[in-house]
C-alpha cells in the first residue's frame, strides 16, 4: 500500500472471526480522506465496533490490512497509537478521579507534562465547558459531562485521527446536540479526521460528509448522505385513509396512476414512491376522491437514510433508530 497523506484511513479486506464462527468483519474496505468526518452506520452487531477495534490496534484482524495516519496497524501499532485519539462506546473515565486528573494522566501517558500539559488541559476544559467542574470527582458529573470529558481525553495529545464509537448513545437530546456541535467544530476548525460509528440515522446524516452502511460485517453502501438518498430517486407519498378497511381499494386506485411506484399498506396508511411528487399528489387526491375513498391526510417525504438502509439491507432500520433516550 502506498502512503498517501490525503488519506487518513485506508482499510483493505478486513476479516475478523470470533470463536463460535461469528464473522464480525467479512471483508471491510474503506478509505477516509483527511480532515473529513466519515460515518459508519449500522445496527448493533453489524461490525462497526470491531472495525474501530482493528483500526485502533485493540484487535488484530484475521486477514486484511489497514493504514491509519500513514502507519500500518499491524506492523507499527505504536506509531498508530501516537497519532490517534479513541473515544469508545462507554465513557472510559476514571470516576474516582477529578476531570483534571483524568486529563493529566492521559497526557502523561503520551509523555506530555509540565506547564504545556496544564495549559492544554485548561484549553480542553474550556472548550468543552467543563472548567467549573474540573476539580470535582467525575462520579458526581452528569452522563453528558462525562462523555465530553471522554472526548477531551481523546484529544489531549492533538491526534490527527479521532475515532468516536457511538458517541451519543445514552445521552439526552440536549447533550447530544451540544456534542454534535463540538464534533462538527473539531472537523471544521481543527482539520481533524473523524471516524464515527453510530446507529442513529440522524446522527450520521447530520455529521458525516461521507458514510458507509455496514451490515453483517460488510459494507453494503457507501457515499455522501445526499448521494445515497438521491439514489433512491423520488419522494414517498403517504396517504392516511379514513379507515383501514379502505386500504385495499385505495391501493388498487394508486396502482393505476402513472409515475407512481408499487403501493405498500400499513393499516390505514398507504405509501408509494413518486418520480415527481408535486404533480402526482393532485392526481392521487382526485383519483381517490373519484373512487369514493375517504382521505384523512396526505404527506410527502424526502427519502431518508432509513429508506437507504432498507433498500440496501432489505430490512427496516427500526432497531434503535426510533429510540430517543430519556
Amino acid at each position: 500500500m502506498m502512503t498517501d497523506h490525503t488519506r487518513a484511513i485506508e482499510a483493505r479486506d478486513l476479516v475478523k472471526t470470533y470463536p463460535g464462527d461469528v464473522r464480525a468483519l467479512d471483508g471491510i474496505s474503506l478509505t477516509v480522506q483527511a480532515g473529513t468526518i466519515f460515518g459508519l452506520l449500522g445496527p448493533n452487531g453489524a461490525g462497526k465496533s470491531t472495525t474501530v477495534k482493528v483500526l485502533t490496534t485493540l484487535s488484530r484482524p484475521d486477514s486484511g490490512s489497514a493504514l491509519v495516519a500513514g502507519h500500518d496497524v499491524l506492523r507499527q501499532p505504536d506509531r498508530v497509537r501516537r497519532s490517534i485519539g479513541v473515544v469508545g462506546q462507554k465513557a472510559a473515565v476514571d470516576p474516582s478521579a477529578t476531570g483534571r486528573e483524568n486529563l493529566r494522566l492521559q497526557g502523561q501517558i503520551y509523555g506530555l507534562g509540565g506547564r504545556r500539559l496544564e495549559q492544554r488541559i485548561g484549553e480542553l476544559l474550556d472548550q468543552f465547558g467543563l472548567t467549573d467542574a474540573a476539580d470535582r470527582i467525575v462520579q458526581t458529573w452528569s452522563g453528558g459531562m462525562q462523555r465530553k470529558l471522554d472526548v477531551a481525553m481523546g484529544l489531549v495529545h492533538r491526534p490527527s485521527v479521532l475515532f468516536l464509537d457511538e458517541p451519543s448513545t445514552g445521552l439526552d437530546p440536549d447533550a447530544r446536540a451540544t456534542l454534535w456541535q463540538e464534533i462538527s467544530r473539531l472537523a471544521n476548525q481543527d482539520r481533524l479526521t473523524i471516524l464515527l460509528t453510530t446507529h442513529y440515522l440522524d446522527e450520521a446524516d447530520r455529521l458525516a460528509s461521507r458514510l458507509a452502511i455496514v451490515d453483517r460485517g460488510r459494507i453494503v453502501a457507501e457515499g455522501a448522505p445526499e448521494a445515497l438518498k438521491a439514489e433512491l430517486r423520488g419522494d414517498a407519498i403517504n396517504v392516511v385513509l379514513g379507515s383501514a378497511e379502505l386500504a385495499p381499494s385505495a391501493a388498487r386506485v394508486l396502482e393505476r396512476i402513472e409515475g407512481l411506484g408499487v403501493p405498500t399498506l400499513d393499516g390505514a396508511l398507504v405509501s408509494a414512491r413518486a418520480d415527481d411528487a408535486a404533480t402526482t399528489v393532485p392526481v392521487v387526491l382526485s383519483a381517490l376522491d373519484a373512487a369514493g375513498v375517504d382521505v384523512a391526510a396526505i404527506t410527502v417525504a424526502r427519502p431518508s437514510l432509513d429508506d437507504v438502509y432498507l433498500r440496501h439491507t432489505g430490512r427496516a432500520f427500526r432497531a434503535t433508530a426510533m429510540e430517543v433516550p430519556a
Binding site: 485493540l58 484487535s59 488484530r60 472510559a92 474516582s96 501517558i109
Partner: protein, 258 residues
Amino acid sequence: MTALAQTGYIAGRHLRFFLRQPWFVMMALIQPVIWLLLFGALFKSVTEIPGFASGGSYLDYLVPGVLVMTALFSCGWSGMSIIEDIDRSIVDRFLTTPIHRSAIIAGLNLYELVALLIQAAIIGGLAFVLGAKFEGGILGYGALTLCAMLVGATVAAFSDAMALMLRQRESVIGINTILTLPLTFLSAAFMPLALVPDWIATAAKFNPVNWAVEAGREALTASPDWSMILPRIVALLALTILTTAWATRTFRAYQKSI
C-alpha cells in the same frame, strides 16, 4: 525510562483513589492489627510446647507470619482493580495509547506495595509497643518487609493475570480464597515446622510464602544468617519478575478475547 515514569503515574492514580476512600484506608490499617492481636492471643501458649525452638515471645515469632499473610491477603485483590478498569473500558483506553503494557501492571502493583509498606509500619510499631524485641533491628525489619513485599508483588501479578484472562470478579475472588489460606498455613507462619506433620513441612519447602516467613524471621534474630536469607530473597525476586512478565503477556490473551 518512559515505562518507569508511566509506572509512577499509574501507581499515583491508584494511590489517590485509595486515599479518597476513608473506609478502605481504615480497613487496610485495622486488618493487620486484628490479626496481630487475634493470632497473638489464640496461639500464645504454643511457645510452651516442647520443641518450640524460638527463644523469644510468641509475638516475636508471630510478626513475620502476620506481615507476610497481610501481603498475601491484600495484594491478592489486585486483580479486582483490573476487572473494574475492564468494565469501565479504562483498560481498552490504555491499550489504544502508547503506554507500556508492563507499566499498567507494575503501576498497580507498586501502589499495592506502598499500601503494604504502611501496613508493615503499623504492624511493626504495634508489635514493638506490645513488647516485641526485634533483635535484628531496623535492618532486620527492613529485610522482613522486603520479603513480604516480594510475596505481595508476586501474588498481585498473579491476581492481575487471572483478572485479564478470566475477566470475572467471581473467578478472581475464588482463586484468591483457595490460594491464600493454604499458602499461609502450609508454612511456618504460625507454627514452627518442627511441630507440624511431615507432609506440611515438605510442602512448605516449595512454598514461597514460607521462604519469606523464614527469611524474615531469621533477619529479625540477633545475629541473622544472611547466607540463608539472601538466596530466598533472590528466589522471591525472580518469582516477582516472572509473574509480572506473565501478567504483562496476558494482555495479549485479553486483546484476543475482545
